[in-house]
């Protein structure tokens, strides 16, 4: 789960990181009022889960409250990478001397959280990694010991030759690490970490991505989810305990298991089609899940055919068959459906489907080819 900049900054602030004052506004008037309260130049920043906000015109410097109102008015409602800006952060503009990058991710190779720091901050770190890798220092952290001071200092010195700044940066590393661990992050970054002309260290932008598996035990973090900033069908699917990702094709896919779901999409493509989605109904064989899956998929007007691919292990295929029957009785399908079922209780499932006017095969390749042809208007 992505946090908004303002949410990440609040968490970092709670861990002691120095962050310029800021508050969220949902209207231009609010933005103006906040700017007036601060009585200084502010930044107005679109709060959406998308990179490149600056380039898209979603981040503006405002000298006066009236200016803030005007800029907020332009940004609110703007669409950035398909996401509508519903709120802006109005925050005191920091004087910028130098900009550094400080981030932590969970690294698969070392199986540890790994710090990445670079004096080349303010820009995309992947770009720095690709073009000037020597400008990035990587420091893995053994969570059993936490981030030792010596490693924090090593990063501090990598960013700043001056010992006072190095110590200050080391402290921020430890605060960032604490925030990362306490919030269940898979990524946390400060970019840029700014040294002001007065020699102060300030976090001007912050980002956090939370491991979805942490949300159950961290209700205070889970509560930060902003469903307005997500694809509605994906929100709907999540609330129905389905894993769903919307894509641009026209073959709607319903599969059990993530690997098989990806393989099914790939096979759609292999046979010349385009998948409309990734959808994993998971291991449980609750007919309700099938009903929800059909509802979500058929809500997409692009979908021209529906493909079920179920390999019954834990999943009972008769449950899936029953789900299909129930769902289509309540809401008759407007597009053709192709069903592939095999495994646990296959014979019962086939019988249920036949009795209700569906046909089904047990071969994956055949089913996919059929679905692709149907979506393309053939048969």
């Amino acid at each position: 789960m992505n946090l908004h900049e303002y949410q990440a900054k609040e968490i970092l602030r709670a861990h002691g990181v120095h962050i310029p004052p800021g508050r969220v506004a949902t209207t231009p008037d609010e933005a103006e009022a906040i700017a007036r309260e601060y009585g200084t130049a502010v930044m107005v920043k679109a709060q959406v889960h998308a990179g490149g906000r600056g380039k898209a015109g979603g981040v503006k410097f405002c000298k006066t409250p009236a200016d803030a109102k005007e800029k907020a008015s332009a940004i609110l409602g703007m669409s950035i990478k398909g996401l509508t800006v519903e709120q802006v952060l109005v925050t005191v503009a920091a004087d910028i001397g130098t900009e550094a990058y400080v981030g932590i991710i969970v690294d698969r190779a070392t199986k540890k959280p790994v710090f990445m720091v670079s004096a080349a901050g303010g820009i995309d770190i992947e770009e720095v990694a690709a073009t000037t890798p020597e400008k990035i220092l990587y420091v893995p952290v053994d969570v059993r010991y936490g981030l030792p001071t010596y490693d924090a200092m090593r990063m501090g010195f990598f960013l700043y030759p001056d010992v006072k700044l190095a110590r200050g940066a080391a402290k921020i590393m430890q605060q960032l690490y604490a925030a990362f661990m306490a919030s269940g992050c898979s990524l946390a970054e400060i970019n840029p970490l700014v040294v002001t002309p007065q020699g102060e260290l300030v976090a001007v932008d912050g980002k956090m991505v939370i491991d979805d598996n942490e949300l159950d035990r961290r209700p205070e973090i889970a509560a930060l989810r902003d469903e307005r900033s997500e694809e509605p069908s994906e929100v709907d699917a999540r609330n129905a305990n389905l894993t769903f990702i919307k894509l641009d094709g026209n073959v709607g896919c319903v599969v059990n298991g993530a690997g098989l779901a990806m393989a099914t999409m790939d096979l759609v493509k292999y046979y010349g089609g385009e998948p409309a989605n990734f959808l994993d109904i998971g291991g449980s064989s609750n007919p309700e899940k099938v009903v929800n899956a059909l509802r979500i998929i058929t809500a997409d007007p692009n979908v021209k055919a529906i493909l079920f691919n179920i390999f019954g292990g834990i999943t009972r295929t008769d449950d899936v068959a029953n789900g299909i029957v129930t769902a289509t009785k309540a809401n008759p399908l407007k597009v053709p459906i192709v069903i592939r079922l095999t495994g646990t209780n296959e014979e019962i499932a086939m019988k249920i489907l036949q009795e209700n006017g569906f046909t089904a095969s047990s071969d994956m390749d055949t089913a996919v080819q059929q679905a692709v042809a149907l979506a393309q208007g053939g048969k």
Binding site: V143, I245, L260, G313, G343, D365
Partner: protein, 289 residues
């Protein structure tokens, strides 16, 4: 022969009285796995299905029954502790089925099992099966049959699909291992490839990877350097968009890294067979036996 488990495997089931644990306990017992103990705190002294003794702790179970392998069916918040409990109690293999274990928990669990020399498979995996001898986890027994192919995969149902195709074509398996779809897991492709290389019964290996991470690339390098046996590979997620988690926590393309294309390239460079579709495994493996 086989890898990791065989008919001598003595299994303790953590969470044996839970919904998933009890269902699969019965499945494993029916398959012939030696289920010697179960663990559910507070139910120590009772028996599962009237036969398998239940204990309050894994340590009690191991001491009383000599279990050498554990399988875990506890909810995600308790899984990390359950893995460490098993490793500390002295089993040599821990298989964690639980899906949804926080990855930061795994950053702590991983060194814990490593420093005890315990093999962990999973989490978020279907477990493993040595057809005709023992199954530990949830892989459906009836789709497997004994034979010369080692199977290793990051996925569950996709593995079933491939194993089912192999079995239908008359190609049996030594052991099928699902290593799990999480970013940090206990056993990776290389561990399994090395084990299959050593196993005299295994003549060829089917390997199913996914987008995300670099495990497949490293496995390909390993195949190139160390494997004398043929390996056929597949990558799921060629149509996945970058930055989106495709169900599995580990199946995510970060920036331009972890794509199916680069993994398939690594397979090709290692001289591996490449299955474009799951069904392709049948012919590719057959040609290599």
């Amino acid at each position: 022969m086989s890898v990791f488990i065989d008919k001598h495997t003595k299994l303790v089931i953590q969470g044996i009285t839970g919904r998933d644990g009890s269902f699969h306990a019965k499945q494993m017992m029916e398959y012939g796995t030696q289920v010697v103990a179960g663990v559910t705190p507070g139910k120590g002294g009772q028996r599962f299905e009237g036969t398998v003794p239940i204990f309050n702790t894994v340590m009690d179970a191991v001491q009383a029954t000599g279990a050498n392998t554990s399988v875990i069916y506890v909810p995600p918040p308790f899984a990390a502790d359950a893995i460490m409990e098993a490793a500390a109690a002295g089993v040599s293999l821990v298989v964690c089925i639980t899906e949804g274990v926080p990855v930061l928990d795994m950053t702590k669990v991983y060194p814990f099992v490593k420093e005890r020399g315990v093999r962990l498979i999973g989490p978020n995996c279907p477990g493993l099966i040595t057809p005709g001898e023992s199954k530990v986890g949830i892989i459906p027994g009836r789709i497997c049959t004994p034979g010369p192919v080692g199977v290793v995969s990051r996925s569950g149902t996709l593995t079933y699909e491939v194993v089912y195709q192999l079995t239908r074509a008359g190609i049996g398996q030594t052991t099928c291992v699902g290593i799990g779809g999480d970013p940090i897991n206990g056993t990776n492709f290389i561990d399994c490839l090395a084990a299959f290389e050593k196993d005299p019964q295994t003549k060829a290996i089917a390997m199913m990877g996914e987008i995300g991470g670099t495990d497949e690339q490293e496995a390909a390098e390993y195949v190139k350097q160390h494997m004398t046996k043929p390996v056929v590979g597949f990558i799921a997620g060629q149509t996945a968009p970058p930055g989106r988690r495709m169900g599995h926590a580990g199946a995510i393309i970060s920036g331009s890294s972890g794509t199916a294309a680069e993994k398939l390239e690594a397979f090709a460079a290692a001289g591996m067979g490449i299955a474009k579709r799951p069904i392709d495994f049948v012919e590719l493996i057959k040609a290599r036996l």
